[in-house]
Amino acid sequence: MDKKIILPGAKISDGRLNIPNTYSDGTATYAAVIGTMDGAGHYLPLETRYRAYVGDVVIGVVVDSIHAGYRVALNLPQSGFIPTRNIKIDLQLGDFVLCKIRSVSEVGDVDLGEVRRLPRGKLIKFPSAKVPRLIGRKSSMLMLLKTYAGGDLMVGNNGYVWLSDKSNIPLLLKAISHIERKAHKSGLTDEIANLLKEETGLDLPVPQGETYE
């Protein structure tokens, strides 16, 4: 499919559309962030700031501990909050946590639940607009990366990616930065599979069809 990159201010439609990362002057709709436009006129942002929505699965770092709970950095302007009454485990500053967004207030305060502490590992930032490509259809990309790296990895909707200490981290970083660069191209999973095969010299069977939770 022929995709064209468009800049902020480029016209998307002659009508008024209510889609994220665009704006309308009353008659036409224009792009507000850099994105791609395919032949059918679908606009997909390439670069956005993460915005919290209820139900998002996010990864964060515990940055503060107060009487009522913990503050968690989530790649958002405001930090998220885990009330102590919602969790049974004790968290420590610097812990990586996987959690679900329970509520987002008008001013952007985020309450978190379903907290799971992640084991030792590395946390990296990934553009949140490109997260779907890192997961892949039916999480094919994730399965591919996990298989070749020999360890776990978790992707949050907020763009934080946790890599397990047990996995081959240099290999993962190489593959992930490749995904980041080529996120708007098609045939990415095959490309990454080739890259991983080349890097490791292995040809591993990749399990199929697991859905991402």
Binding site: I5, L7, P8, G9, A10, K11, N21, Y23, Y30, A32, V33, I34, P45, L46, E47, T48, R49, P77, Q78, V107, G108, I124, K125, F126, P127, A129, L173, K174, I176, S177, E180, R181, K182, H184
Partner: protein, 248 residues
């Protein structure tokens, strides 16, 4: 700068000091994504100007009393390095000039960024002039627009900026250092790409009504050329994936 005719000859044999014609821009090179740690960044070489720009945010507003519950606060810091040019900018730290430039650049982007989407936050634009040769405010606006696009901050439009002025009784696009210092007048303009609205207009020296009309036309033409270069830089970054490796 003054409106009196100085004895510096700015036009020799119909050509400008650096051999350009009246409508010609200096050579320009732009690059996007030069600071992996920043949310968005860009670098520009515009003639003898070298300017780097990093954008952070929207992030928590500090100090808290600056924050607004209705929109994000745009903060801009323009700074010229002590080594940026030989004579007058040899001291570091804020000056009357850098405070003014920070303000006018901030106002350009306050009107372009969709700040209402990010209440209680601030967006930081840091502009560092590494080398200066006239026209740093216009180059700064051009490069900051690139950095903001790279950061994914929603904007109504792209903007580019150029100074048009008068030297040797001729209207000149993109004044260089000598033309800026010894010319008759200077008018920096920032023009948005889609609806061609004027985001910045300053003037030094004297100009007639007719000259200003002509300057607006020349500046619009030059800004179109600049926009082409801006989109080429962004396209190079996003299309060909010419990015630095993931920052760790």
């Amino acid at each position: 700068m003054s409106s009196s005719i100085s004895d510096v000859q700015l036009i020799v044999d119909g050509k400008r000091l650096d051999g350009r014609t009246e409508n010609e821009l200096r050579p320009i090179r732009m690059e996007v994504g030069v600071i992996p740690e920043a949310d968005g960044s860009a670098f520009i070489e515009w003639g003898g100007n070298k300017i780097i720009c990093g954008v952070y945010g929207p992030r928590e507003c500090v100090p808290k009393h600056d924050a607004s519950p209705y929109h994000a606060v745009v903060k801009c810091r323009y700074m010229m390095s002590p080594f940026a040019s030989l004579d007058e900018h040899s001291k570091s730290g804020p000056s009357r000039r850098s405070v003014e430039l920070s303000k006018v650049i901030r106002e350009v982007f306050e009107n372009l960024i969709k700040t209402e989407a990010f209440p209680n936050t601030q967006i930081d634009i840091f502009i560092d002039v590494l080398q200066a040769e006239g026209g740093t405010r216009t180059a700064s606006i051009t490069v900051a627009a690139l950095a903001l696009a790279n950061a994914g901050i929603p904007m109504k439009d792209m903007v580019s900026s150029v100074a048009v002025g008068k030297g040797g009784n001729v209207l000149l696009v993109d004044l260089g250092k000598a033309e800026d210092n010894f010319g008759q007048s200077d008018m920096p303009l920032a023009i948005s790409n889609r609806d061609k609205s004027i985001m910045l207009l300053q003037m030094d020296g004297l100009l007639t009504k007719e000259e200003i009309v002509q300057i607006l036309e020349m500046a619009t033409g030059a800004c179109d050329v600049l926009h082409e270069k801006q989109s080429a830089a962004l396209l190079k970054f996003y299309e060909e994936g010419e990015q630095d490796d993931l920052n760790l």
